[in-house]
Subunit: 384 residues, 2 copies
């Protein structure tokens, strides 16, 4: 299958958009299960502390949140891994907790201890009083960053926007920060499901608005990070996490020129529920390293693309060992499109950047064997 | 199926053992998938901080580790939940890290922060130097506690002994304590699999010796807690965790009079691998709350009993809500034996003990409907 746009339509939209056509569209093609020349790769938290240039930018910002809130610096951080490695996508440098911050909870982030809210949700009344942010006002700094990044990328690779899932945002807002056991939010869920649903409904509106604003500002793909859906029972996952991610997906609007924007849903620890995630109609499922990618493909077929799933700890091993693990994951996925190589979770701050270069090049080199030679076709020349 | 012992054999063994016959053998029957009058229940960490009487014992001990190492106090803590609730089993009060402590790593436990080792494993040489403890000498306090508890229980309910899995012990020994991401042990595993296997081999011998000593001292069931097997990839789980639990199981010796002691294997986050766990030949699989018990039974059938899997957070809800969740789990498991009701993980310290009473009584009351009336048969009168 080719892109749904005809050549004429593509040209027409080109006149209207703010950047040249994509030079590298592997990610978008893989998301649509269309032929690619190599398996695309990007890395969760690819802009981050393992990069010395990121640490320098962060030092200039003073603290993590100022970095997120300063569009020029967020743009700089977003582009750093793209400049260093042959990655197939950029991902907006930001934090999943920008929405609760915009809701007035008073976010502070210490990269060692994790995030803290000055005013966590402590009662049903706190939940009732919550308003839904207007991204164009309350999260303007994110949208400015998206526009800047898009202009700077100049079509080199697609840009991924993202949000936390409603459930994941709710966990932080109720716990007040990171948690080991999530007892506060899970207790709320059992003791007062009504209030929990009020909170999640508000958050699903807020997340949909936020992602729509990112799409309007120029992201090419959106990803929902459901970092803590995996702490729920199978039934509660459906009721309290997946259902609200589905509401978000249903609330996404196509871009005026580029049409529907592909979506990725990633529930860490959600390996048992891949079929249910696929049923949301997302374009890709993020798979953590606890689920074999062969098993995931067997269960999901071509209903969704699959993104993952190298254990981030592998990057601490020797180059030879990294190659071995890449070979194994590529072989497990097998031939054909629909695989976006990634880690199964964010890259660890102690990772040696040279190991990332080994990984990225290995994925590109070794994956050729799993794809037909399409070097003479339209896609490899970058025409979207 | 009746117990394998004939009445004469039972009487013969009675003359040789150090306690009267079991008055409540529901747990042992359920472990063997034999008919029971009600679903048995015990609770992970049933002796613990949520009980005021435990906090008093702990205060007398001064600190957690002294409590573990003083047989009279460990016995007292073990019996407290049995005195308060109508539980179907006692579990030895101890810690999973007694083995690494006996190996010389210098354990200290602060119940807030978790365990710390003064001398964590930092090099292959540290691993090479590790000796295997002799439980009769190095862990004598545990065996003394088992004998005391067994005498005090006087056959009221069975006593469960336990150990951490080799992999789980290794994580603490290499990380030096609790960890959020287990990067040190996972890095070791990828960078130096040989040393990791040396460590796990030593630990599987140590765990088998330890459980054999507990069996000889009088425990009726042994459980292996694989708290951190769930952080591994599917393949590494088999290679680095399950394989060594299987070695432990293979190394268990039958009790001189009571024969083979039933075994429970619990991998938290192991819902994707239940079939592989069943293949170890364990008698029961612990199931955490992320896997539906109906799905677990569908996958495992009667190959193993299933233990679990109420979300501990449910105990913070109203009694009505607790009843609803108990009803749901019992209905999900359905009719017949082979279910041991439990939480999907340890009880939370903030739990109100009255809620535990509600839970225990609800399981006994509501589960009658799922079992044939065996009130006139031998088992309900407690003859083993």
């Amino acid at each position: 299958m080719k892109y749904p746009q005809s050549a004429i339509e593509a040209k027409a939209s080109l006149l209207m958009i703010d950047r040249p056509q994509l030079k590298n569209d592997r990610l978008l093609r893989a998301l649509r299960r269309e032929a690619v020349d190599r398996t695309p790769i990007w890395i969760m938290r690819q802009a981050g502390r393992y990069l010395p240039e990121y640490r320098a930018t962060r030092a200039r910002a003073g603290d993590f949140l100022t970095l997120c809130k300063t569009p020029e610096l967020a743009c700089e951080a977003t582009l750093q891994p793209i400049q260093r490695f042959d990655l197939d996508a950029a991902i907006l440098f930001s934090d999943i907790l920008t929405i609760p911050d915009a809701m007035g909870l008073g976010l502070s982030i210490n990269e060692g201890d994790g995030p803290r809210f000055a005013r966590p949700l402590r009662s049903p009344n706190d939940i009732r009083k919550l308003g839904i942010p207007d991204p164009d006002i309350d999260l303007r700094y994110v949208l400015q960053a998206v526009r800047l990044i898009r202009a700077e990328l100049a079509g080199r690779v697609p840009l991924i926007g993202f949000s936390g899932s409603p459930w994941t945002l709710a966990t932080y807002m109720v716990e007040g920060g990171t948690s080991k056991d999530f007892m506060k939010i899970r207790s709320l869920m059992y003791a007062n499901p009504e209030s929990t649903h009020v909170l999640l409904t508000k958050l699903s509106h807020a997340v949909a608005d936020y992602l729509n604003a990112q799409i309007a500002a120029g992201v090419d793909v959106v990803m929902i990070f459901d970092t803590w859906g995996g702490v729920l029972t199978a039934r509660d996952y459906q009721t309290f996490s997946l259902r609200y991610m589905q509401k978000v997906l249903a609330g996404l609007k196509p871009h005026a020129e580029r049409g529907a924007v592909p979506t990725v849903v990633f529930t860490k620890g959600g390996g048992q529920w891949l079929e249910a995630i696929a049923a949301t109609g997302c374009d890709a499922i993020g798979v953590d390293w606890t689920t074999g990618i062969a098993e995931a493909r067997r269960r999901i077929g071509s209903r969704c693309a699959l993104q993952g799933n190298l254990d981030p700890a592998v990057l601490s091993a020797s180059p030879a060992r990294i190659l071995e693990e890449v070979r194994s994951i590529l072989a497990e996925f097998g031939a054909g499109s629909g695989h976006i190589f990634n880690l199964g979770h964010g890259i660890h701050p102690t990772t040696d950047p040279d190991r990332v270069a080994v990984l990225v090049d290995a994925v590109h080199d070794m994956s050729r064997a799993y794809h037909d030679d399409i070097s003479n076709s339209q896609s490899a020349t970058g025409t979207t």
